[in-house]
């Protein structure tokens, strides 16, 4: 019994170590960039099972600069890009970066974005520190406004 409890505690602490602060980044993808484009959008989802945190910065070997932007569309259909800083990640809530909404703008691309390729993205959080995630490049056939880009491919 003691032995099982020990394994159990070991497993929990191991899990903690792998996931300090309870931040989880999923569904990261970059939209393929047309030729000549110097920018691309990165989309992902951040889940926070720990205390409230903030995204301080994002970086990637793909581009010189990575900024968080929000596409705000007014009633007449005009889109404005608003730069967001120190973006809060509330406890228990998902923070979604999706087409037509919040997105990470990769500025001054350094690498060609070929569909299927994976690129490392580093997000720095105020409390949880740096987190790395792999973002897959998706082609325009996997387009759409579905909350799940993987499933929008089937439609």
């Amino acid at each position: 019994m003691k032995y099982i409890l020990f394994i159990f505690i070991a497993l929990i602490s191991c899990n903690r170590e792998m996931n300090p602060g309870g931040i989880e980044i999923t569904d990261a993808w970059i939209r393929e960039a047309p030729p000549g484009a110097t920018v691309a959008a990165l989309y992902l989802e951040v889940k926070n099972n720990g205390p409230q945190d903030h995204i301080l910065s994002i970086s990637s070997p793909v581009s010189e600069i990575a900024e968080i932007h929000n596409t705000e569309i007014s009633a007449d259909g005009t889109a404005r890009m608003v730069r967001l800083e120190n973006v809060p990640v509330p406890t228990g809530e998902g923070l979604f970066f999706l087409p037509g909404g919040k997105h990470i703008m990769l500025i001054d691309l350094k690498k060609e974005l070929t569909p299927g390729d994976n690129h490392e993205i580093i997000l720095e959080f105020k409390n949880s520190g740096k987190k790395s995630v792999n973002a897959v490049v998706k082609g325009f056939s996997s387009n759409g406004y579905s909350s799940d880009p993987d499933h929008s491919m089937d439609h």
Binding site: A37, H69, G77, P99
Partner: protein, 201 residues
């Protein structure tokens, strides 16, 4: 005499009745027509305008008379909305099968400073070789923005070239006579646009 008058009155009533019925029928037909489109019905005669194509030639809207035009605005340094919309239009276009020749997709860049003709052309052709990218001088674009009643402006100019543009996101459907008839929000499902096009073609 009395009988003749009666016939006259009856035929007058009949004519009036027929007129009312046909007007009502026409109105109902019109209303039904408008309602059954997926896009927002926005019928408006557009005055002609001209912009420049990849070779620097003037291209006017009237050039595409006889085709249905799907038109949208943006710029090539746009990371989110523009590639999403053009990607969607690519899917729409590929679903038209043998009707592709009757539809022209036009992307108007509101950022002529950075979107020189060659760059714009390469960008647009990436989505589909049949798509056309147009831009123009500030004066030409001013005319276009008045025609469509739209706004665009530079955002956060930090001395360097990395500025963003605010721009319209709607997709405009222009009929074969060059009249604007439908407007779609940028996130309209591709199949809805295809459905409307198939009705119109």
């Amino acid at each position: 005499m009395i009988i003749k008058d009666k016939v006259k009155i009856i035929s007058l009533i009949l004519i009036l009745f027929l007129a009312i019925v046909s007007v009502m029928g026409y109105l109902i037909f019109q209303a039904k027509n408008k309602e059954t489109f997926n896009g927002f019905y926005n019928e408006r005669v557009l005055s002609d305008f001209s912009l420049k194509d990849s070779s620097g030639n003037d291209v006017s809207l009237s050039r595409y008379k006889g085709k249905i035009v799907l038109l949208n605005f943006g710029y090539t340094s746009c990371p989110d909305i523009c590639p999403t919309t053009l990607g969607n239009l690519r899917t729409v276009y590929s679903n038209l099968d043998d009707k592709q020749d009757d539809v022209q997709v036009v992307f108007i860049s509101v950022d002529p400073e950075r979107d020189k003709a060659g760059k714009l052309d390469e960008y647009v052709k990436f989505f589909n070789n049949d798509f056309v990218g147009l831009t123009g001088t500030d004066d030409q674009l001013k005319v276009v923005s008045d025609v469509f009643n739209i706004f665009y402006f530079k955002e956060g100019v930090d001395a360097d070239k990395d500025y963003l543009m605010s721009h319209p996101t709607s997709i405009y459907l222009i009929d074969r006579e060059g009249k604007l008839i439908l407007k779609y929000p940028h996130n309209t499902k591709q199949e809805f646009i295809v459905e409307d096009l198939k009705r119109l073609l």
